[in-house]
């Protein structure tokens, strides 16, 4: 038992936690912007999938992982524009557009992957992938050094992005307007700023974040390969993280880490029980997270109410 626990709570698990959490966290950074702007963005899964494919394609065509990331970012802009065109300009049902976007992405990427790479996918092709970063000074630190070292560059980038996003959302005028576009669109309009434009901006930035998440997934996490349906509901989990973190970048990142931890835990437990059962864990945890966040919200509301009635008395 002791040995099992040591195996489960090893540095490797926490390293895996970071690696699993990163694509979800990147997508969640985009999802929280659309959430603030008042758009229910179910389509992130498709955005990630397309980013993953275009990342691989760009890297394959230009023989450079950096070009792959750049093309994924460009695609993110395009998808964000597309999403906003339908949801903001044409005022379509965002749930239907999101669902359709996911199916569209699944169809398009599978179609293109088979057309370009053949039936066996990218496995036979040599695709430049993102390098890992080795920091010498981390070698000196025993446990944490092992966790933090030799990771894909994107893991460190994500930390920067979380901080940047926090500043953007809470400390810049543009972030303030995006939040207002979701909460009080008419007030924002009175102030002379178009809420629609803010929704466009949020959608485009969300597209970019999801594109990055996809590029990391295919070029970093899986070392330069594309698998059909590889986003594997990560977009939905990112959405759950946004809800769980109340669209706060830091809290959403913590939620993503939590998902990553349970994902890593599942990997570790595979040595002891069926991998099909361990794969369930992160998805079940997401459901539990969704329930918890609602229950917590309601409890807060009731304590607030009892407090105010107590004051009155």
């Amino acid at each position: 038992m002791d040995e099992i626990l040591r195996h489960i709570f090893s540095a490797g698990t926490f390293n895996q936690m970071l690696r699993s959490a990163t694509p979800v966290a990147l997508a969640a950074m985009g999802g929280l912007l659309t959430e603030h702007a008042g758009i229910m963005n179910i389509g992130m899964d498709g955005m990630i999938l397309m980013g993953a494919f275009i990342g691989v394609l760009g890297s394959y065509l230009c023989a450079s992982a950096a070009m792959g990331v750049a093309s994924a970012v460009l695609l993110g802009v395009a998808v964000g524009l597309f999403f906003a065109l339908f949801v903001v300009k044409f005022k379509s049902d965002e749930f239907i557009i999101g669902c359709a976007l996911n199916t569209f992405a699944a169809g398009l990427t599978a179609y293109l992957s088979r057309s370009i790479f053949g039936l066996s996918g990218t496995s036979g092709h040599d695709i430049a992938h993102l390098p890992t970063v080795h920091l010498d000074f981390l070698d000196a630190i025993p446990f944490f050094g092992e966790i933090l070292n030799d990771n894909s560059f994107f893991i460190y980038l994500t930390w920067g992005l979380v901080a940047l996003m926090w500043v953007f959302v809470y400390k810049t005028p543009c972030g303030f307007w995006i939040r207002a576009a979701g909460e009080k669109p008419e007030t924002l309009r009175t102030a002379g700023i178009s809420p629609e434009r803010m929704k466009w901006i949020a959608s485009i930035l969300c597209g970019i974040c999801c594109g990055l998440a996809g590029a990391h997934l295919s070029l970093g996490y899986l070392n330069g390969s594309f698998v059909e349906g590889m986003s594997n509901s990560r977009g939905y989990i990112a959405f759950a993280c946004v809800i769980f973190g109340a669209a706060n970048p830091a809290k959403a990142y913590i939620a993503a880490l939590m998902f990553g931890f349970f994902d890593a835990l599942g990997y570790r437990l595979q040595s002891y029980i069926s991998s099909d059962l361990t794969s369930i864990i992160p998805y079940l945890i997401t459901v539990v997270m969704m329930v918890y966040v609602v229950v917590r919200g309601q409890r807060k509301k009731t304590t607030l109410r009892t407090n105010t009635t107590a004051q009155k008395e």
């Binding site: 005022k91 669902c99 199916t103 699944a106 599978a110 509901s233 939905y236 369930i280 969704m290």
Partner: protein, 366 residues
Amino acid sequence: MQRRKIDLGYAASLLLSIALAFLIGALILAVSGHAPLNAYTEMVKGSLSNARHIGDTLEYAMVLCICGLACAVGSRAGIFNVGGEGQLLLGAVVAAQVGVAMEGSPKIVVIVCAALAAMAMGGAYAFVPGVLKVKLKVNEVITTIMLNTVAIYICQYLAKGPWRNSNPNIIAGTENLAQGYWLARPIAGSKLSSAIFASAVIAFLVWYIMQKTSVGYEMRLTGQNPRFARFAGLKTDTIVILAMLVSGAMCGAVGMFRVYGAEHIFKSSISNEYYFDGMMVAMITQYNPAGIILMSLFFAFLKIGAAGMEANAGVPNQIYLILQTVIIFFMAAQRGIAASVRAAAAKRTAQKEARARLAEGGARNG
């Protein structure tokens, strides 16, 4: 009269969307080096050229139709059941195992038990997100999607582990169903089975209940305006949970049909995101039962035809997903597109008028 006018406009935009989707599909085909006309011909041949293909198309239309109606039942009452895939798969695996466990019993008993078990399983699996939504206001879209993945892994575990096939060549599948329990097949070689009659009954019942009875009206009221429905004395919570139960049970039944009619075993080919295709059908037709029945025939034609297209023209079959979603994009945006076209036209006439007035004024002053 007003209603017919709306329906006509809707039908026209649907036809236009379909035409545009095929046009965009042709463009994608041409860009990726396939001859579009040849591909589309193979598509028609693949789904309609002989009795076997027509049978397969009907079988898939049946799956889409019941899944679409299941989605509509929930959506009408204001709850999106995105978890039909999981309910379908769990229903299928339970139905398959019932058939294996009850081997030796008379056919009718086994089939009834399997159908009931599948529906109970599907309903129970839909019940959880339904209750979470009603009692705690937990977003049902996320919970049902997560539960889909959970169900997929549970089924895989069962088919690989405790309920696995004794034939080691079948890696993830339950025991084969005894031939005596197979549903009759009206067309030799086709996957179409007598389950289509049961499906027709289900489809008719759902249409009748949703369109013609007070229960259907109460459901719609709950979906459109839950506050008003509550003030009107309706038990909205019960209606929503009931809708979810029925929706899940229908998905479970589809799983049972797939096992007893088409595959005769539970394996991963029981459903490859079929529920999502059905959901798309429901969305396009704005959850209208009669529309769903018609539209599922068209989508089945696309899907089965795409398989023929892949075999005979070498086009990856996923093109049908692209066609399908392009139609949805256009249909979801039809009102918005029409409004912006109108707005642009109005702007142009206003500008023209303003310019004419300016010219008039200029002439007078001059």
